[in-house]
Amino acid sequence: MRIALFATCIVDAMYPRVAQATVEILERLGHEVVFPAGQACCGQMHVNSGYFPEALPVVANHVRTFESGFDTGEYEVAVAPSGSCVASVKHQHALVADWAVEHGVKGADSTLAARADAVGARTYELAQLLTDVLGVADAAAQLGSYLPGTITYHPSCHGMRLLHLGDRQRSLLASVEGLEVVDLPEAEQCCGFGGTFSIKNADVSSAMLADKVANICGTGAGACAGGDASCLMHIGGGLHREKRTTPSGRPVRTVHLAEVLASTREKPLTIDGELALAGTPGGAR
């Protein structure tokens, strides 16, 4: 199958390795990955901050960019390594399009909402695509995923509540050879990122983050995995600021689901040249 990668703005600019890992996994399964060059951002930051006029061109660009490839048959589905951005594509794009028509915005396109829904219907979050479309149930057997160590898992709000990902991400992680997934207490509590919420209500956001960081460190795991780079940047930023370390003295990190799945015996996931979960219980040194 030909699959369009929507890298999302934060992965594109801040975490290219997450996009690389996504490509790696899909190609390992024998699929061809296409990167529509016009893509930029899903517009979620603008929508969630109430800046609908500013969101409109961002949304329109996304819809235009991805629908052309669907129309020409260049690719069949689109995938993003982010539950939050996929939820935005599926749930917010048509809302913004409707808003523009309702408010008589100059040049508002009355077909945009339906086109946005059509793009949304063919857009998948990574674990959703792997599980529901590509039939991956055992990452070790089907992807050769290997990462020795202990990890905990934070299910991000939008993947969990808007996309109903359920245990898709977690069970993919659990099927990685050598990897033990330990439960995160209060896993379903928001990490406190919330886009511009973390700036506008920085104090409440920080209090939420502090609890998330404490819960992660309480598990003793070497890293916290998740499916949203933005939440992971927030959590990782808190872990780094508090200089949180594992019992063996290594910094506690955040890693993206895609990076973990892309890790193999031949080329295991490394951070600063070391095995990502080195030194954690069960981890190889």
Binding site: A7, A37, R161, G194, I199, M208, L209, H234
Partner: protein
């Protein structure tokens, strides 16, 4: 807007009373976050109710269908509101009751005062009521020499403590039992000076205090959980039985009910009496449900009144994106699951209605352009836990986003407003320009090495200026990579000899 023919003015009235921010949410919340005792109390209470709710909700195989049914009945009630209210009035009147209409808090307070004065009494007992909290009835009556005694235990604690409720179901959630004992010792006439903070002893002291009030009161004031249009029946759902004492013992009963509480049919209660107790207290069934229809000679209050309160509700109803906030049955499930409420507490929201529902309901009642409640729509990380928990499926996150849009629009179009865009406005406009075109994004991303250079030796940025300062108060930000994915992909496409194009050790 759709014009509601209730004799109301064409422009729906704004809500007044205790439904406005007292100060912007972020600064109030910052202060409340310093209070470790408050946070511990809130955490304990919300987690206890949250877990109980999850247990009893998971028992019902048809919970989702019940939520759908509740949502559909409420949507129907909102659609037929004028007709249902007229029917309610007709039925209520036919059974010996009197209906009063109040456009806003001031009008409702005046009506209630007049009704109390007509009885010659200067004391009233009250069953816990959100509507009377909303209009500030107690304070209004007190200023005019009428003493209103709250009889719900938690409301009593709040009242005696000269405090405000901070949760709609557990108004004294922010108090622990030692604080409660101290309040009782200080404020309760004739209390045992040896009173301990044992919950049973505290409840006994309150009970003795309240009995004296029940036996002497001639007038009671209640709210209403439901008003049935078909029969003119009012209903109150409560846990302690103090409400039932109020509803049955006095001679005059005055109910203040928001117009959105009307339900078409008596059988609709079958849905809500399952949804409400499980969502609010985590109980399968609540201890006391009182329903009354008019007055009956020789049984219960002789004189029965209802004040139908608008106070911004038609304004909310006119907002087609926000009107489902009026479906709220005041169960507080959204508060108990909200991570923001759990940290900031109810007082930070300023309004009688705190938590996620308050963050949408208060601005909808007053109008966002009214400035009163403009920080509330932002008091959420949009995590969606409230939507999941809501028994009538109010899409709170979506309404929050809608209200943010209204706020931004109002701010940008307000006459005489500061014409200079804010730093945030500029950031949003700049990001919109960059993020609506892949080529522009690519061009900007060539500046990533600058960010890398700005990072410290440990590869992170620990202090950002301006808007970013909020971020770096508690979090580091990783140094950006030397190259965006877009740029890497372009190189890979050029160099097809390398089919994967993934360099080892990239990033981090």
């Amino acid at each position: 807007m759709s014009t509601v023919s209730l004799g109301m003015p064409a422009l729906p009235p704004r809500g007044f009373g205790n439904i406005s921010e007292t100060e912007p949410f972020p600064s109030y919340a910052r202060r409340e976050l310093q209070n470790d005792q408050l946070r511990a109390n809130l955490r304990h209470a919300t987690h206890t109710i949250r877990d109980k709710r999850l247990r009893v909700v998971s028992e019902l195989p048809d919970w989702e269908e019940l939520r759908e049914a509740g949502s559909a009945i409420k949507a129907e009630a909102m659609e037929r509101l004028p007709e249902l209210l007229a029917q309610f009035e007709e039925q209520f009147t036919a059974r010996g009751g009197t209906v009063h209409w109040a456009r806003d808090a001031a009008e409702a307070n005046r009506i209630v005062e007049g009704l109390v004065r007509a009885t010659g009494s200067s004391e009233v007992v009250k069953v816990k009521s959100m509507a009377t909290q909303e209009i500030g009835l107690n304070e209004y009556l007190e200023e005019r020499g009428i003493a209103a005694f709250e009889t719900d235990l938690a409301e009593l604690i709040v009242q005696l403590g000269h405090d405000k409720p901070s949760h709609i179901l557990v108004p004294a959630i922010h108090r622990n039992r030692t604080e409660i004992r101290d309040i009782f010792l200080r404020e309760m006439p004739g209390v045992d000076p040896e009173l301990t903070d044992e919950p049973r002893r505290l409840a006994m002291a309150a009970r003795a205090h309240l009995r004296r009030k029940f036996l002497s009161a001639k007038v009671a004031i209640s709210g209403a959980n439901f008003g049935i249009a078909e029969t003119g029946t009012l209903g109150v759902v409560e846990s302690e039985g103090n409400g039932r004492m109020c509803l049955t013992l006095p001679e005059t009963l005055i109910t203040v009910m928001g117009i959105e509480k009307v339900l078409p049919r008596a059988e609709d209660l079958g849905v809500f009496m399952q949804l409400l107790p499980r969502s609010s207290t985590g109980e399968r069934m609540n201890p006391y449900t009182s329903l009354w229809t008019g007055s009956t000679p020789g049984d219960g209050p002789k004189d029965v009144h209802v004040v139908l309160l608008d106070n911004g509700r038609t304004r909310a109803l006119a907002d087609r994106h926000g009107r489902s906030a009026l479906h709220c049955i005041r169960c507080s499930a959204c508060m108990n699951v909200c991570p923001v409420y759990e940290r900031a507490g109810g007082h930070a929201y300023g309004s009688t209605y705190p938590g996620p529902i308050g963050a949408i309901l208060s601005p909808l009642l007053t109008g966002v352009e009214a400035e009163e409640n403009k920080s509330l729509p932002y008091a959420s990380s949009l995590c969606g836990a409230c939507f999941d928990a809501c028994p009538v499926k109010i899409n709170i996150p979506e309404i929050l986003v809608h209200l943010r849009g209204e706020d931004v629009e109002a701010r940008h179009s307000r006459p005489g407003a500061r014409r200079l865009p804010s730093q945030f406005d500029l950031a949003m406009a700049g990001a919109s320009w960059a993020m609506s075109d892949g080529a522009r994004m690519g061009l900007l991303e060539r500046g990533l090495p600058l960010g890398k250079a700005a990072a410290g030796r440990d590869g992170v940025i620990s202090k950002l200026p301006g808007l970013g300062a909020g971020w770096t108060q508690s979090r580091d930000i990783p140094a950006p990579p030397a190259e965006s994915f877009r740029a890497q992909w372009a190189k890979r496409a050029k160099n097809s000899a390398d089919p994967h194009g993934i360099k080892e050790g990239e990033g981090k």
